[in-house]
Subunit: 215 residues, 8 copies
């Protein structure tokens, strides 16, 4: 398991990460970590690697695009002095293009997404031991579906950025694709975006697998 | 407009019809008709045909499959002495097959759907001036998507039943298909099932067009 | 339909327009446009003219007289860069004279109403493609009733202002008068001011008719 | 003051009387008498005639027509062993004809109103010291307005019934007419039916004047 | 009735006056005047003197002693430009001496009370047509009871101040004393301080009697 | 301390005893004993006599007179198989005579009070080890005050009943009288009936003193 | 993994199992399975064994001892026709002995526990494919602590019963003991009984390990 | 009783002291002192020493460590001009080390605890008549349990500080130890930290015993 011992991992993202975490900082007793995959990652690490004493902080923020994430990067990520940082962003960048077609100022198109992600990663990469990038996903099995297709473009950007900056990559779309061969998207998500606990376990498992977690 | 004057129209269905209607009977002041297409149909009739004085009652019930609708048919429809009856049912019959794959007792398969619809229509047809059948729909533009495909089977059953019993047919899937050529499903529905006011206007317009409503 | 394609229409007014719209800006998902005629205008445009892609923003504010509207005109209307602007104001200017007879500082009399409307329209007319003026109304069929009589004076000012500045005029009092020949005011309004969905459809229909909307 | 000493007065009616009274019986501490004219009548009697020790019970019930009142007459009035009974009913009998024109089963027309009132009064008159009849009213100054006109027909029935059975008559419409010469209806009522405290004082004063109350 | 026509009367005091009035200014529609004697005074004036068009504002504030009242005198009274001002203060000045014996900083003793009242009245007397002083009261019939005895001292100060500055005096303790000969204090007040509607009518009646109100 | 070891004490009464106890039986974790003197008696016994292991159950019921207590005596007291029973009743029997003078059916006069208490005690005395009677009280220092005077009559009945049936007597009025020499009633009670924690400690202390509790 | 394919597993117990599950049956969409280890077992099975299609039902009930569980065994377990049944009971049987020492009727002592468990298992064993027994636990690392000591006695009974009836055994106390070598009990539980998500993962993992789950 | 007459005692601490006290200052009517031992100390003093007229203020603050207490010492303690000050702090300083092992910045270790307590006491000792120090406690009877062991170290610091600065010492751990010989910790506390009313009586009694209170 690559994280090492007694490290601090700050996990950022949008509502998929956030899921009712505590403010201003998502750590501590009483469900401060929220109900997303973040709490599961913490629980799995404490169970399988109790001696590693990894400290996890949930800094997801509902509704965020990468443009919003950039604005709070200093205060919400770097100021917390993490050893590791994970980023799961892009879902809203894509979704707004589909659910709010008439409000283009809320859309974040691929070019801006790529540039901003590149900036954040490049800068942060030097400050921490490692950056973990998760691809945004859409729980839609058909790769030809328009929003899925667009999401895949953002996923590709994440893959390329991970490669360029030597980040750990977690390909969530791939994992959901596999799961959707067995169960319908409707059974784990109301809107194909927000996963239930089964979907969150898919994310947490993929996340830990990418860290050479030994089950 | 085929309904005639001073007629009573009882509109049945599931949550798409129901949408917070009043209990036990969905008519009267103060949003008793709920917020679905039913209230729009009433508003349009009152606006364009103020002299027709059509009386509308919303008897939709959230979560209903046709199996549930059958159980309350006598008390909720026939006992109200309608002149016209409309039925929009089948969405939950299909949806449960996808969101609750491990609970088959909640699934209503095509055969049962066809038989029950046939019974309800056959019996009711003799008691009222006319029955209006609306096809269940899924706001998914891809006809190959599994749940859309299944929904189309139920839509076909509705079309055949309408023909067999000389009911007025309202093909909602077709109307949504047209709309989805212009806007994404995400912009009018959270889950591709429950329409916002734009989607409810699509239903109400289709409904009234089928009645030779002249705008 | 005169609005054109991909235009932005900002609709201002008082509680009749507002009706629980989102703050600070009344547009977006989840009923952000509120429950008034504004949402219906949006739904009708999206249904009948899906290709026109009109963007609508509800900037009504409950309780406003034209004096209040003037104060927020810059921030709430002009700063949003609309292509079209609609104004439905004056009901409170009149109503306060009747429900609050002892508090004259809340009354806005005809002269001030005329001058302020003239200023707003004159200035705005140059900044946008068109201004749409809706007459304030009272759901009272008797033109001799004192508050109706007073409201008619304000309606006349709106008509004259529309003519002077070449605005599109929507005569709502006229439309309600027609409707009240068929149904009582009590059936669509608690207080003869705030319309239910039937009344809101009357407004939306009149609004669109004035724009050469083809049903 | 004709009530005498240590008598029990049961005051019945609809929402105008009820106004949040306590259930099942509207008397006692802590606003059990509700916030209508009933509480004012009690307060005035206690103030001006403290030695009379009249016991007042509010048995109004929101939404009631005379048809509803009849059903609960035994349990809600006679079983309480009153010395005096007051009745203010008829507003909903009329109102439903205007606000719910398509639901005739909720309308109580003049004939039924007259017969039922006659029955209730005839029977009760023998059991108690006196019956006080209040005319239903509409806070509309124009006697030609349709609902006011209809309300006046019911008022006439009350007047005739009072005469026939030698009841004390309280002509509320007359009192409101006088008041409306000074202030608009809008200043004391949202819907011209439910009075604020000013309007309730009008009713309480008229009520007591009819009892030869000396201010 | 001495107030004259079209005058503005600002009524100040503590919780007895306040009773859920609207903030920041206690006037307007929808129970803005609260539920105390203030609303009753307004209702009685509108009923018996409809042509006088007196405008009433409730500026009571729960918990206030005269020390608190002084602090807000400018903003809450003078800035409203009243023609008449009424003051019912002193109950908390006394009560705190009894319910909070160990917190002397909350007690306002007679000397401070007299001086502050004198200042407020002297200054205000010149700005308005008249000042109406109401004695603080305790619904305790026994003049020897310690808190009643103390309250009487404050009442005497009010009487003397009224005489010195030629204010209209309303002796509420006297009125309650009379009422308590007929009914117990427990029947109109939970704590012998806060009156129910019967007690508020006692106050309102005494207030109007002092203004030569003719019932 | 006379209770002995491992005994069960059921404490009955009205709202003074009840004070938000758990239903149907007032014992157990999480404030099931309520917030009255009952919880204090339990806490004192557990502190000073931890080895005695007395089990306490709060069976007070808000609003009860002795007439109400009698009705539930079997189910609420005897069925619980107590070793000891305490009774604090009579406050409402008196209070209703003062706060509800016009509703005599809610008054329980001395004769009925004496007879009922006698019956309850006589019957219960044989079933348990001991009955503890607490006098009803009024936090009014003046014995001539009418309600205090009446309460003293009921207190005398309790004293006589205790003597007749050899019950333990707790004279609460006496204890409050002593306390009121130092502090005003207003400082420990809003209405002179319901004590705050200081007043509840007075009761609990008097109760335990009567049981030869050694502090 | 021993459960097989398309089996139904009913999981019973107390509040540790229950944790806000849906009533009357704890299965379905929208967190119907509650937030305990049950939902995690379901999520892990769906993730690691998506093809197995195990159907899980949470039938835990807060506060239950084995005595309560027995009463609802037929309706809540057998009537659901499970293939597998799991039982985690005994915590309250022990806890009540410590938190409610004076209420012995709520204690379930070892003998009754052993007999009842034996009955339930013996009977059920014949009706289903397998029974899974989980030991009750106390998150207290010191085996000499009195409540832990008592809990271990109940754990031994579970172990012996599992052996006697050839049930699958899940030794939860052992698992918690291991975890408590790394972290304090305070970090995963407020009261050493109710686990947070980390503790629930411990249970779920132990449960699945006992089923030869391959991670 | 050493406090003297008419003194002011400010009682500080964490949630054990706070327990829903009023803000900003915890004194006054209506449970302003909260529900902890502070209210009991006040009630006992008023009962047993009614003439002493001690004024008590609760300035506990939930969650505080001594580090937090130091920050508010001036505004929350000294500015209130106390004659006596009591301090019950340290529970959170220890608890965070156990419930939040990965967040060391929230831990207050013995050295910092000793130094800060020394500063606060040394400075305050000169300003007041006396300082009362209460040892932090853990309701765990086993002195070898890790958190109890750590708490005892802090208790020792308190004892030493009390001796050094001649403060009155209240050894709460000792008192709880005695009680736990009779009843389990589970019966008076959910988490072994927050006492119920029995536990609060233990604290209040120990507090008063240390002041030579004569029961």
């Amino acid at each position: 398991m690559v994280l090492g011992k007694e490290k601090k991992l700050v996990m950022t993202g949008d509502s998929i990460t956030d899921f009712e975490r505590k403010r201003p900082v998502g750590e501590g007793l009483f469900e401060a970590m929220g109900h997303s995959y973040v709490a599961l990652v913490d629980a799995f690490l404490k169970n399988w690697y109790p001696a590693s004493r990894i400290r996890i902080v949930n800094m997801g923020n509902s509704g965020d695009t990468i443009r919003d994430l950039k604005k709070r990067w200093h205060s919400d990520v770097l100021d917390l002095n993490p050893d590791w940082v994970s980023i799961l962003i892009g879902v809203n960048d894509v979704w707004r293009q589909f659910d709010s077609p008439l409000r283009p100022e809320e859309h974040v198109y691929p070019e801006e997404y790529r540039e901003t992600l590149d900036q954040l990663v490049q800068f942060t990469r030097k400050e921490v031991e490692g950056v973990i990038l998760l691809t945004p996903f859409y729980m839609e099995p058909n790769p030809g579906e328009p929003m899925r297709k667009m999401m895949d473009r953002y996923g590709t950007i994440v893959r390329e950025t991970a490669k360029k900056h030597e980040c750990i990559l977690v390909d969530l779309q791939e994992r959901f694709n596999e799961y959707l061969q067995h169960y319908s998207a409707q059974s784990i998500s109301w809107d194909r975006i927000h996963p239930d606990i089964v979907g969150n376990t898919i994310i947490a498992r993929a996340f830990l697998d990418a860290l050479d977690f030994e089950w």
